[in-house]
Amino acid sequence: MAYNSSEAYDFSLFEPQIIEYPVKKPQQSTKRDAKRPQNGKRVTSKKKTAPRKRTITREEAMGGSVSSKIKDFQTEVERDAKTTSFPEYGKKLLCFIVVCAILIVTYLVLNTKYDTLLNEISVVESEIQIQKGENVRLNAELSSMLSTDKVENYAENVLGMVKAENYQVSYIDLSEGDCVVVSGGKSADGGSELGGKIKELFAYIF
């Protein structure tokens, strides 16, 4: 609250102020702090207590004994972090960079190979198309050489063949199905005969 003021000066700035700061006791570390390594030793957490609020003056906050302790503590933690965690983080970073580099190189190699294979497929596909075309052309040539009129002309005029007359063709009625006749006048039902013989054989043995 200002006792006196003008446009140029704010005298309230020169008055003692009471500011409320939540103060953390350095001894009472949080759970996270407990997990953090300190000088190679694991700090175990003590009984959890709610941070107690204390009213301190500005002077205390700026230059009091508590603040100097906090400062010392923070400096110490930073120094420890610099001296102890850098090599580990560096290794991890290096590992990460190496893995990334490997992945990138692998990707590039695979991509190149993929492109090469695609090109090869494309070449083979076009070759297949060409060969298919050739196949069609050659088949067409073959068919034209084996057309009915050419075959008939060759057979009649070069080979002297004569077409069979209608009456020379015998028509067989297959409407009742095919049947097999075993030579020697035996029955066509060979299976049952064989079965009978086997039965006879078993009867003889036993």
Partner: protein, 739 residues
């Protein structure tokens, strides 16, 4: 002071605001213009700059016959072009022209030189649809002479027709753009055309293709394939018969159809002369070429040549109409029987002419046929009899059947350019059908029908009265060969009853057995048919001879229609010149379809005999064996034993045929000159052939006593082995005239 400053300040601010609004406004406006108004244009432009889009052409579908023989198929081919703007000097021009002409074969050097005259252009096509071998040769030539910038090769497709002229008027062909131009290729162009593929590649700063990650490819899809109802073997029989008919009769053309009467499927359809599907613009007919060569004026020659080419593409079986003549009497008879105005017992006394209104219409037999029943009337093809039936039917009923048999509309066959009947132009409308028109129409004169209409109508008579819709495409197949469509035969309507159908068929059978259709008689098969001869309405003194038949008469499977246009010579009747052709086609087709022949005793007595085995017999023993079986022996050499015989045992030769016996080594073959066997009866031809040491095979109307030979398979004067069989074709010319 402060007021002035404030005002200035406000003005500055206002000015600044205006500048800002105008500036940003213009930008926003331009942005709107580019992004919204001209968005599509710039998008296209950007794509064109950044993307390379190549069309992958799709193959057309394959065309198969009914037995899956390939009739048309597409394959990759190439196109050669030249970039004249890159040519350095005249020496290079000559070198390119000479080299390409030698490789391409049918492209003249002068033609290539002419194409390269204009050096300003950068693309001149030299030849398209070249094969792989030729393309490889061009590539080698280009590499050897470092002509990469001048000679270019593009991909192309070529349609192959393996059998050249075969079924050309049905299949049709494609143009240079791979689109159908005639026939099935035109009618089913959309079906056969595949879906083109695309290959889109992103281009780099140098307009080169970027890596494949930036590539999108859509494969081309082959067009749908078609399976036709056309049977390669039956089509061959038809084409062979028609081709011979044109040659024998020096006719303008001949065309015909073979149809499955029960389904309407077209088994064969041809027009002669035809053309080569692989070279559709080339005329190969020497007579036609000789006629064209008479034209001296170059322009006139070009026009005549092109007209001749277009004419050769015409499928006359569906595009042309003709006067049916006496064949139409079948429909008058069917209508009369169905309506009860006539029957098999009806009689008519033909006195040689009949008075119709003010005209006296004569029968082709001027002295008259006398009293005859309906079957005899059809056998004699008596005009007055059928005029009378037509008059008894009356206009109303006659027109009803004329329409019902499908003569007033298209058949809707799935082929392009079907002739469309026009009332009072191609036929008489009901309103304009007076007694004269009715009378002339009743015996098939003064109107026109197409061949496809005629055979569809005759099939209705043969199949029990059902008018079928004719078709040539039986199935459609996708690119994996799966059936995606199958044609179901369509019955348009029932025209006549089954009993009428059977009655008319029996009358038709009598026509072939003992009437004007005797030349279509086939031993062992029951053939029904009707002959027709008519004078052309459009050309004076020219005729159209036709024959329509179906077989077997007791259970019809096929119908055959043969039309010979403008036959030359004294004999021009359908019974004399068209019936033998139809008979031969029916015989071969029924054999091919495994229809078993059943011979009568009379037929068996006239059939050929099979030669016995006489090798290793003594000459005397062989002679007596042959004589005992009715053969004549002819001995070559002075040996005692027969060492070989010709024809060999089991061969078919006519009764009283000759068997040549060879008795000495080294004299196993002996040839002689084939005698003239034309214009003879069967007995005379056989005797003359045997005397000369040859055998004959009889073809044609062999049961008729009045037959005369009109063709022999080995021409007179040809050197042939003794004992060879010469096929001799017989026909009768008496009692078959029907006009």
């Amino acid at each position: 002071m402060s007021k002035v400053n404030n005002r200035l300040k406000k003005r500055c601010l206002a000015l600044l605001a205006v500048i800002l609004v105008l500036g940003f406004g213009a930008d926003i406006f331009r942005l709107f213009y580019f992004q919204v108004v001209k968005a599509e244009d710039y998008r296209v432009e950007a794509e064109a700059q950044q993307l390379s889009d190549t069309v992958i052409s799709a193959d057309r579908g394959v065309i198969y016959d009914a037995n899956m023989n390939v009739l048309a198929e597409s394959a990759a081919a190439w196109l050669v072009y030249i970039n004249p703007s890159k040519i350095k000097d005249d020496a290079q021009v000559k070198m390119i022209a000479k080299g390409l002409s030698e490789i391409l074969g049918d492209v003249e050097e002068s033609t290539i030189l002419k194409k390269m005259e204009n050096r300003q252009i950068n693309y001149v096509k030299i030849k398209d649809k070249i094969s792989y071998n030729i393309k490889t040769a061009v590539v080698e030539f280009r590499s050897e002479n470092e002509l990469h910038e001048i000679i270019g090769i593009n991909s192309d497709t070529k349609r192959y027709y393996p059998f050249g002229n075969f079924a050309s008027t049905i299949i049709g062909m494609t143009n240079s753009d791979n689109n159908g131009r005639a026939g099935i290729e035109l009618k089913y162009n959309d079906t056969l055309t595949g879906i083109p593929g695309r290959r889109i590649v992103a281009r780099d700063a140098n307009s080169g293709p970027m890596q494949s990650n930036y590539e999108t490819k859509h494969d081309a899809e082959q067009g749908t394939s078609l399976v036709l109802t056309i049977d390669k073997s039956i089509q061959y029989y038809l084409e062979k018969g028609l081709s011979q008919a044109v040659k024998d009769n020096d006719a303008e053309s001949a065309y015909g159809i073979v149809m499955d009467v029960n389904t309407g499927a077209i088994l064969a359809m041809a027009t002669m002369p035809d053309y080569n599907l692989n070279e559709p613009s080339v005329i190969t007919d020497p007579e036609l070429l000789a006629e064209l060569d008479k034209i001296t004026d170059e322009d006139e020659y070009d026009v005549a040549y092109n007209n001749a080419v277009f004419l050769s593409w015409r499928n006359k079986a569906i595009s042309d109409t003709y006067e049916p003549g006496s064949v139409f009497k079948l429909f008058t008879a069917a209508a009369g029987i169905e309506e009860g105005v006539t029957s098999l017992d009806s009689t008519y006394n033909c006195v040689g002419a009949i008075q119709v209104a003010d005209n006296r219409i004569h029968c082709h037999k001027h002295e008259g046929h006398g009293t005859q029943d309906l079957t005899t009337g059809l056998k004699n093809s008596c005009n007055p009899f059928f005029i009378t039936i037509g008059q008894q039917l009356g206009t109303e009923k006659f027109y009803k059947y004329f329409e019902a048999f499908g003569f007033t509309g298209r058949t809707n066959i799935d082929l392009p350019a079907e002739a469309s009947p026009v009332a009072n132009v191609t036929y008489h409308s009901k309103e304009n059908m007076g007694i004269s028109q009715l009378s002339s129409s009743a015996f098939g004169q003064t109107f026109q029908v197409s061949a496809i209409q005629m055979i569809t109508g005759v099939s209705a008579i043969a199949n029990g009265g059902k008018l079928m819709e004719p078709y040539v495409v039986a199935k459609k197949l996708d690119q994996d060969g799966n059936t995606v469509y199958e044609k179901t035969p369509q019955v348009k309507r029932q025209v006549i009853s089954e009993s009428t159908s059977k009655t008319v068929l029996s009358m038709m059978e009598a026509v072939v057995a003992d009437g004007t259709g005797r030349n279509a008689y086939i031993p062992g098969y029951r053939v029904a048919g009707k002959t027709g001869t008519s004078e052309k309405l459009t050309v004076d003194g020219e005729y159209i001879a036709s024959f329509v038949g179906c077989a077997p008469a007791d259970d019809p499977q096929i119908a055959v229609l043969i039309i010979i246009d403008e036959p030359q010579g004294a004999v021009h009747g359908g019974g004399a010149i068209a019936a033998p052709v139809a008979g031969a086609i029916i015989e071969q087709t029924l054999e091919y379809m495994n229809v078993e022949p059943v011979y009568s005793d009379e037929e068996l007595a006239k059939l050929n005999a099979t030669t016995p085995e006489v090798i290793n017999m003594t000459v005397g023993g062989a002679k007596s064996t042959l004589k005992g079986q009715g053969f004549t022996a002819r001995v070559i050499g002075n040996g005692d034993k027969v060492i070989s015989q010709y024809p060999a045992s089991g061969q078919s030769i006519p009764m009283n045929g000759v068997v040549v016996l060879y008795t000495e080594q080294g004299k196993t073959e002996s040839s002689s000159s084939v005698p003239d066997l034309l214009g003879l009866s069967i007995g005379e031809a056989n005797r003359r052939a045997v005397d000369a040491g040859y055998n004959i095979r009889i073809s044609g109307a062999s049961l008729d006593s009045e037959v005369v030979s009109y063709r022999q398979s080995i021409e007179e004067g040809t050197q042939a082995n003794l004992g060879s069989t010469i096929t001799v074709y017989f026909k009768t010319t008496s009692g078959v005239q029907d006009d």
